[in-house]
Symmetry: D3
Subunit: 248 residues, 6 copies
């Protein structure tokens, strides 16, 4: 059930039986020579919709631009400053909390978001406490990346082994190929497996990873792998959502 | 051409021949008993994609949650504070400006956004000037709502006359019915044409417009009307985009 | 009745019979070769004082520097960033709301302020709601520019026709000549009627409008025209104020 | 020379021979039973205009609402939050610095402003340095209250002795009676000399000083005293301004 | 070498041979019945000073109050909002970067800080890029918690096994007993090993962990264990610092 | 009693008999050729701990980096922007106020902090009032510099006369020599007594005071002088603290 495809009376009805909602959050950033710039946003969104369908959960609008400061040397990358992203998440959560939502599961598509998202959760808790004290609504926020579960992790390992890498991975590119079969791109990957290391700001990133990939060989991506990964992610996250809203 | 479905080398290539980009901006807010909460975001997004296709323009990610403070007494409505939305727009524009984009057309689906969006444009101009002085990139930002053109205006009048109203209108509901035929909702509308007046904060809004509509009868909505309106909007906005990027 | 020329016991007494207050808001920005930099602030202030006298309303202190980012290439122009102006308006309204004021009419002298002022009103509504929930004071804010009424509009048209333009207009210059007869300036206007178009940032503005005017011929200004315009504005706005505070 | 009564070409000419400008800053806050709420703003403004005339200095628009958080239990008091006032001063100074102004003398009418104004000056210095580094304009900001000079101090002592106090003083009330002879108010003052002490927040202030005055007997105010104080202030501050702009 | 115990000429000299600096960051928050509120700040500070001595590195002033929103139901806990901590880190880094420091190692004593610290690093990168573009200083920031290394981890396991837990651990309490032998506290611990689970806001935290501990038995703490842990941490982090500043 | 060396149950007990707390605040900035960069932070901290011991007061964590924008041309100086320092103080006070602390004495080591600290106190009062209205906790904040008392002032005059100056003074350097005898530095002071004047931004400061000192001869510093000054400061401030918490 997608919030944006519901009416307000339908949401009112939903709130009578559930206080839970899923918010997809991704990023709009370079994903190497053959990966799509919206990979993290669209994977998160589509997996969240799958989870919503599986678990009977409402799915809110996607935060499509995340924290991608380090990718800014590649054309097309967009980013919110961390301080902006904190405010966006604050506004999302406090708006929905006014209606009675209490459990917020952020399904995440971009590792670079996690720190800022967690900072934002505490900003929300602090603001609600400052404004309302003991009568503040007791919201609970959690962020889970779609690959953070045994199912997806095991499949990635089985399918791509050490060529998975950590950015522009064959797993995420495969999921996109499955979801957007009309947008499968071909591009030379040289070397096939990209280098891997720590990095700092955007200039440093581009020097270390000239085509944008980190440690990955997205040339191994296939739509059929994507389907398996997608299904695994949805199944695992639907379980996590059920547990989350069921916590006492 | 959708930014999120492009690779960074494709964006690099695009920038060699165009500095223009379209950003859809909408809202996630109640749209009366039978209107979808995502109406403003999804109309803006889909019309923007149509304009992008017609005019060969890149279309960036949608700002799906806008300024809807006044709708907050209706479950499911989300809003950014105006101050947050200013920062989001600042981040969108300045990130893209770093890559060389210079002309930003925001295709808007929500009248309530316009004031804040315009404030944001001047915030962007002021920040760039403060940071970079005479060497700041010369960005140009414009916002146009999809119904702000003779084609759509004339059609709305012809189809719905004085039942068009100004919120949860049969025009926007029709466009959604055309775009999302599986999500056409039935709901009693009493009175058929909603009341109309000025309003202030969210409590005031709800008292004046108990079911959320202002001056409209969305019971007149039809998918086939939606198609005509959609086509008219795309045609008109594609012209406006071409003029905008062609301005000296 | 001017707030700054009242004592606090007088304000306490006023609040027993009225919750309304007028706030003048203008700008300090270039007004072409013969227009005064304070035109928008001083017109708004003087008209507001006239309205206050006519309608028995308290008039608060003027916001004299507004949103004039686009005029910054002309010496003497001052501007608040939009984000600052939002905070100023927030502080004005929330301070006065603590005392019991509930209806805030901003009499505006500068078109460029309107978007930011409207964004600010929603920021106020959102902040009060976040801090106080259902017990927040129900403030109502409205902004009206002094020329937004049939009386002034008709007079401008009659007096100046198509030479009115949209910045450094003969109407506003005339009002200033009436109000400040010792500060009537002479300056060459070449061409007599300035060019007119859309514009973007400050550099763009200066290139398009080299002497600062948009579409106007302020050489037609006369103090006696100013008096008629002033009187028409005061009469129209006094009516609007009465209606506003009388709204249920 | 008042900035708001000048044209932009006149300011351009002024800048060829001077980089100095005066900004009046006051407050809109209770001034006891017979003192006017605008005392601090209007004294600062009128004295600044006198100084401008005496020293040939440009005088910018008044910051009429200052930092008066502690007066907020008295109807009619307005305040900016300190954080807002910092931004307003930042915007004033940086806007004028873009045109070439370098020496900013803030003529102050309210002791409670001083801390925040000084904080703001360092915020300005820090921001300019962060944005522009070694090429930042070298602005110099100073704040002087109109009574901070031997002339005014000696006169106050001579005229009112220990009944001067520190808020709603007979000196400032006298200056207002001189400047606004039509707004001289009569009100009982009981006790004639108000109590005096440290204070903290607004509730604490009102408990300690129930009618708003601190240590003063404004019943001693006379317009003719006001004239002497005004003249002394203008003379002393004109000297200070000349020294300030003449500093190497 | 402690920055606060150096003179500015000594720092000038240091910068000729090193661009590295260590910043300790901790928290001031409850640490269970027998743990000291300053545990995280003082462990980080003392370990950082040890690392500075071992590696010849300058050690800056400690950020003693961190992100401890979730501990706020326990008296004595202090916290910065995440948004404040971001600004503090921004100011620390940008101030030192002006002098030429380029490598910033934050030695951390509190797991709850990490997300916000990482968000802050990207805020710094983004601000420097926005202000200075390609000429921005290339700073590199890293955060390492003192227990994030094989040496400390192995020792903790050996000494405390599954009684280590994750807050108010016997490891950190032992280090404090070693560093502050005059402040070893006795307090009943019931149950000896505290419960363990996920948690959300401060109220939720206190309900789940009534005495403040998570999963730990700090009754096992001993100063001599503390010494071994301290030495292991210093040795491991000195290596990490050397590698960090030695990175190309 | 040092907050960071207490447990939360000890703080809970303390609050049963006292609502007072001391917060040391200093700066990390150049102190001339032989003064330590941490002078202001460490003097404030150590004196505060002495006062805490003498008066039985809890002493919170030091704010070690203050407002030192004007010292930024000297290597090793750190500063918070005034706007950041306001937020830090807000967070310190509001966090402690949640536990029931009501009287906050900031013992200050840096004259440059005072304006911003006072601005911050009013920001705190304003925020608490905005969020909680009449039910806001009534906190009282005061800042006192350690030399602001007859004892220290008289001693400084006796020991150093006109060579005391106002930055990098022999008084503060002496206190540091007493507190940190292993870090007494020798450095040429030329001229022995530094120049003295007004100053503005950091570049201006460095031109006027090339080695960082203002009006002082810290060559006169001696640890034994430091001991006398330290003892005088502690005695005087312990009295002030007792008076402050004893105020009705």
């Amino acid at each position: 059930m997608r919030l944006q495809l519901s009416t307000w009376p339908e949401v009112e009805t939903y709130l009578k039986t559930s206080k839970g909602i899923i918010i997809p959050i991704g990023s709009t950033e370079q994903h190497g020579p053959n990966g799509l710039i919206g990979t993290d946003a669209l994977c998160a969104e589509e997996i969240a919709l799958g989870v919503g369908a599986a678990a009977g959960a409402l799915v809110g609008p996607t935060i499509g631009v995340g924290m991608a400061v380090h990718h800014m040397e590649f054309p097309g990358t967009m980013t919110l400053r961390p301080s902006t992203l904190v405010l966006v998440i604050r506004d999302y959560v406090t708006a929905l909390a006014e209606h009675g939502f209490e459990r917020f599961l952020f399904i995440n598509g971009h590792g670079g978001n996690i720190a800022t998202v967690r900072a934002a959760f505490n900003e929300v808790y602090a603001e609600l406490r400052a404004a309302r004290g003991a009568s503040a609504p007791e919201v609970r926020c959690r962020v889970i990346s779609w690959w953070e579960n045994e199912g997806v992790y095991g499949l990635s390992k089985e399918l791509f082994g050490s060529s998975e890498g950590s950015h522009a991975t064959p797993s995420e590119v495969s999921v996109m190929q499955y979801l957007y079969p009309d947008h499968i791109k071909e591009a030379p990957l040289d070397p096939p497996v990209a280098p891997s290391s720590q990095f700092y700001d955007a200039r440093d990133y581009r020097r270390r990873f000239p085509d944008g990939r980190i440690g990955s060989n997205p040339g191994l991506s296939r739509p059929e792998h994507g389907k398996r990964l997608y299904d695994a992610a949805v199944a695992a996250l639907a379980d996590k959502y059920r547990n989350f809203v069921g916590e006492p």
